[in-house]
Amino acid sequence: MILGVFKLTSCGGCQYSILDLGKSLLEQKIFYFTEISSSNLWHTFDVAFVEGSVTNDDEKELLLKIRQKAKFLVALGACAVSGGIQAIQRSKKDKGLIFYSYPLSDFVSVDLELRGCPVKSEHIEETLFSLSVGSVPYFPDYPLCIECKRKGNPCLMITHKILCLGVITQGGCGALCPSLNRGCYGCFGPVKGANLKAFFRCALRMGLTEEKIREIIMNSFNGYHQIFRELYDK
């Protein structure tokens, strides 16, 4: 398959996860990946991976061009999926700032979103494998709680009164944070159908203020995800 890897505004961590493919990278034809190659060609890409969020007109144009050239466009990680940590500067407290950061889907149609800050390299592998055999990759579409239960972790919210975003966060990481004895901070972004109202009720009962809960969601690296946006108007 012909691949292109592109970076917009981000920390650069997700694209290097592609190197985790190791030797099997050699089976791919990488035509565009400026961070590892000096030979970069615009071509019709079977798969284009785009890391980072859109923060200026140049990036917007670049993204539109990638979309034109890509048969299958993958948003790689929390910046591309939600606008990243840089997008939280829309929150009330920081309104004085002129800074914008948008997810890719605000401008183009995205064929697949790989969640996480950073993405999980197994998910990149799964994507390439599925596409190469003409199939569609499948990733968990259930909340992180399911993974925690499978691992047999006691619930941190119930047993330790530690706030955990797992209940509103999409699974896929394997419940990493709760397994390390800390609450999930939401880097895989909100799960479809997340019940924010119930989550707020629960967190309020733990003694947090509504403003504090909103701030914790903003800090999730996915604070500007479509599902969370209604929180900004409050």
Binding site: K7, T9, S10, C11, G12, G13, C14, Y16, S17, L19, D20, G22, K23, L25, L26, I30, F33, T34, E35, I36, S37, S38, S39, N40, V54, T55, N56, D57, E59, K60, G84, I85, Q86, I88, Q89, K93, D94, L97, I98, F99, Y100, S101, Y102, C117, P118, K120, C173, L176, C177, S179, L180, N181, R182, Y185, C187, E215, N219, F221
Partner: protein
């Protein structure tokens, strides 16, 4: 005449190069970083100290552990807590793993293709398959160490103020891969020593690194510029940040207004004697001893630091016993804290002030790459002055190769600027 090279390749992040010449005589070289500033410092203001390690980690996806550990040192400094010996030893282990990860990534997958005159490591695979397979093994080992301690290789999760949120039961699965890695790293160093490197001298710049009484510097230490020893609290008195209108990254200079270099070359210069036994032995055997002021030799020094890191990591892993303790209770109080460590690319300095609730009232982060940018421009100027034609095709390669000697990380260098950005419609 201005010659502009858009999209420098095989550097971490986005940058251009502008070459300004008059009558074919080089006047100025501008290394202009094009990364959008993400204003990470600004967005920390008013937030709790608790989010600092997670949020500052996102300044860089190649060296997040450096940001987390430097931030933790600053937080612990502010609130007066001391991590235990066991915790410091484990922090050192995860930091050494990041050095291996970052150096391997840069040296073999970004930099080495230059020395074979190929476009990428993918092409290099056709020539040096075995060598790159070894490099993949080193990278893999480093990832497994960070995963074992922190849950995942990039942006790990267990590093918290006062210690670790959780400890692995055992590190014994790391011992065999580390033993193999040590052998591999030694072989790779020997292999690299057989290559030829261009001659070049950058003797006019100062090297600045940390000094640690007992160790090759990594987790802590006093700043040393070759003449003076400087406490981390006086960093700002000796080093200045200046804006460059053509770049979204600041440049750092000494207070005398001179460029300086941080990173592997500076550490090697000041702490050669404290390298691990195997690293020192190998270096001496191959005549790689200070002073080394040729940036083209930086791959050898990075490789030596990989040998050193693997050897030390192996020792720590062998001696690991799971600590019984739980993280120390931390009470926020009004105050300020400073953290300084040696990131893979050099000195990383964090400064925070907190109110009585532990909310951040001031933040300033100085990154290794911003400290090196002025020296990169100087090295480019010196290197390109020797070129006859100043056309893109002829200088692109030479300029990029020089830049890669310094392993710049541009998202790091760009995190802090306070500028207004064009609004998107």
């Amino acid at each position: 005449m201005t010659n502009k090279i858009d999209f420098l390749t095989r550097v971490s992040g986005l940058a251009n190069l502008e070459i300004i010449a008059e009558d074919n005589l080089l006047k100025e070289v501008r290394f202009s970083v094009r990364e959008t500033p993400r204003l990470i410092e600004k967005l920390l203001l008013g937030r709790s100290y608790k989010v600092i390690p997670e949020i500052t980690a996102r300044i860089c996806g190649i060296c997040p552990v450096a940001y987390q550990l430097t931030a933790l040192q600053a937080i612990e400094d502010a609130f007066g807590i001391k991590p235990t010996k066991e915790d410091l030893s484990l922090r050192k282990l995860i930091y050494l793993a990041e050095w291996i990860y970052s150096h391997t990534l840069h040296l073999f997958f970004v930099h080495l293709p230059d020395y074979y005159k190929v476009n990428s490591f993918l092409e290099l695979f056709q020539i040096e398959r075995e060598l790159l397979e070894k490099a993949f093994f080193l990278r893999e080992t480093a990832c497994r160490i960070i995963e074992k301690l922190g849950g995942r290789a990039i942006h790990p999760l267990s590093l918290i103020p006062g210690g670790f949120s959780s400890y692995p039961d055992s590190l014994s699965p790391l011992i065999d891969p580390l033993r193999n890695s040590l052998k591999i790293a030694e072989e790779l160093f020997t292999k690299l020593c057989s290559m030829t490197f261009p001659e070049f001298s950058l003797s006019e710049v100062q090297f600045v690194s940390l000094l640690d009484e007992d160790d090759y510097p990594i987790l802590d230490g006093i700043i040393y510029d070759g003449k003076r020893k400087i406490d981390k609290r006086s960093f700002r008195d000796y080093f200045l940040e200046v804006e460059r209108p053509y770049s979204t990254a600041n440049h750092s200079l000494t207070k005398e207004g001179k460029p300086y270099v941080v990173g592997p070359m500076a550490r090697f210069e000041h702490a050669f004697e404290k390298l691990s036994p195997r690293a020192k032995e190998l270096a001496t055997k191959h005549g790689i001893i200070p002073p080394v002021d040729n940036p083209f030799l930086s791959p050898l020094i990075r490789m030596l630091e990989i040998v050193h890191s693997v050897e030390l990591a192996l020792e720590i892993a062998k001696g690991y016993i799971k600590p019984k303790k739980v993280p120390q209770e931390l009470k926020p109080s009004e105050g300020e804290g400073i953290g300084i460590t040696e990131a893979p690319r050099g000195i990383l300095w964090h400064h925070y002030k907190f109110d009585s609730q532990g909310l951040i009232t001031h933040v300033n982060i100085v990154t290794p790459t911003s400290q090196n940018l002025a020296s990169i421009e100087l090295a480019l100027f010196k290197s390109l002055s020797k070129e006859k034609g100043l056309e893109e095709a002829s200088i692109r390669n030479r300029a990029e190769t020089m830049i890669r000697n310094f392993d710049p990380c541009l998202p790091c260098a760009t995190h802090f600027l306070e500028i207004s950005i064009k609004k998107l419609d």
